[in-house]
Symmetry: C2
Subunit: 288 residues, 2 copies
């Protein structure tokens, strides 16, 4: 049980975190802070937080757990600003999409008397904002924690308690291991989707071809509708892993291209192999 939890950033994730902690009765008091106009008020009215503060310093004062529920973009400045206002003994965790860079900022800026544990809940939905927040968003979702050799064990167990309270499934990873894996299953897909949309829509035939685009096009390009700033910040903080995955993807596409150009009839064998991989993944997902 936490005495006081402070949530910084009250969007879909931060708002859902507040609702889930309340539902689990895991915190005596939850306070919040968000720079967006009216966001904190809406979070309070929705029951995600008990009290909101306009000042970051007021919000985190006396908290035993501070959850940084912002995208990776503002994280550096946020950690700098937190450095002088955190109460000694506070445990800080985050939810950003990339971990190595965030952890190095935390090590650089946060004082020795507070602990930082990197985290990343693999949860989301189409909609964003506190209006879309949901007490059950994290139920059964994978929640990565990425402690390092420098992370204090007692702070890890506190954040593990948070993960368990909101019903998520804990997974420990090394930060670079995390960043490599999400680059493949999360960052590569959004870049593939953006490039696909860009390729189709910049062809001279697009005006007509757009009318023929159907559900397959819709699903493969859905991620291209996501936040440009968030995507950029992910690229800026996980570039090396992403480049490695893009190189492999381009290699695979080029091999496919050459076989199509040669009218290779055995393509169906590879398509069947990949179909099998997809079906295995899907059935494992359904069993979750």
């Amino acid at each position: 049980m936490f005495n006081q939890v402070a949530i910084v950033g009250l969007g879909l994730i931060g708002g859902s975190m507040g609702l889930a902690l309340h539902k689990a009765k895991a915190a005596k008091r939850i306070v919040g802070h968000d720079l967006g106009r009216g966001v904190s008020d809406r979070a309070r009215k929705s029951g995600a937080i008990d009290e909101s503060f306009d000042s970051l310093a007021d919000a985190v004062r006396g908290a035993d757990l501070v959850i940084l529920a912002t995208p990776v973009g503002p994280m550096r400045t946020l950690l700098q600003n937190l450095a002088t206002v955190l109460t000694p003994g506070t445990i800080v965790t985050d939810v950003a999409s990339t971990k190595s860079q965030v952890i190095s900022w935390a090590e650089e800026f946060l004082p020795a008397n507070v602990a930082f544990v990197g985290g990343h809940p693999m949860a989301g939905k189409e909609l964003s904002g506190v209006e879309a927040a949901d007490a059950d968003l994290f139920c059964n979702c994978i929640y990565c924690l990425t402690p390092t050799a420098k992370t204090r064990p007692d702070s890890i167990s506190k954040v593990v308690a948070l993960v368990e309270a909101i019903g998520a499934r804990l997974r420990f990873l090394d930060p670079s291991e995390h960043d490599g894996e999400v680059a493949g299953v999360s960052h590569l897909p959004f870049l593939a989707s953006i490039a696909l949309m860009d390729t189709a829509a910049n062809d001279p035939t697009w005006g007509d071809a757009a009318l023929l685009a159907s559900t397959g096009f819709r699903d493969t390009t859905r991620l291209a509708a996501g936040s440009p700033e968030m995507y950029r910040d992910i690229c800026l903080t996980n570039g090396a892993s992403i480049v490695r995955w893009l190189d492999q993807y381009v290699d695979n596409l080029s091999a496919l291209r050459d076989r199509i150009a040669m009218h290779d009839k055995s393509l169906s064998e590879d398509f069947a192999r990949v179909q099998q991989l997809r079906q295995e993944w899907q059935s494992n997902q359904n069993e979750k």
Copy 2:
């Protein structure tokens, strides 16, 4: 009003065609033929056809309209087999995903006393088979017809009547124009999806990374679950267009890769531009 319509291939599209024609009372009699065990019987019981024939010759005898509702793969053999059994005056149309190759086969094999009009309804769903057939599958969907200079005008108007009867929206295209456009909005997406699934699942980290893959991965790789044979046959019959699109896609991905490697902060401007394109396409879809 058609006197007798013969549907060859009673899967999702063929079955839905029968149900839609019956619903519209656009045919006095609908007969069907399918090589799959029990498929014709199920089509008859579902009301998609009035009678089924085990023999292709019996099925198409006396029909004023023959609808070839098979994928592009079996189309060459099917047209060869039809050549000697069609009643003079019959109009033949198809629903295959690529048009130039199918039309050249029709011109090669069909006798001069029958007419062929290439067609492609832009309809589908996750499920396949006559069990998934739906009388409203074509409602408001785009239905491409690709007549050539050699196509007889009276046969075109008959197939236009079919398109209108089932509630679809007619679009005339040149066959090569059709093939170029669907290569971009339909074939490139399934190849991008297959390559993405293949890339992710063949990495040494996949066992762990699969657990982190979420809704974005699910949607971008959904098409990788499609029919390997159909995909191969599309590649074999539309290779030139597909290769052109793959080259452009790889160029765009490579440019993105280089900018990520250079930590280009202006990436968000391009992501925003593509986001805008995606939103425009989506809102046009919603207005349909």
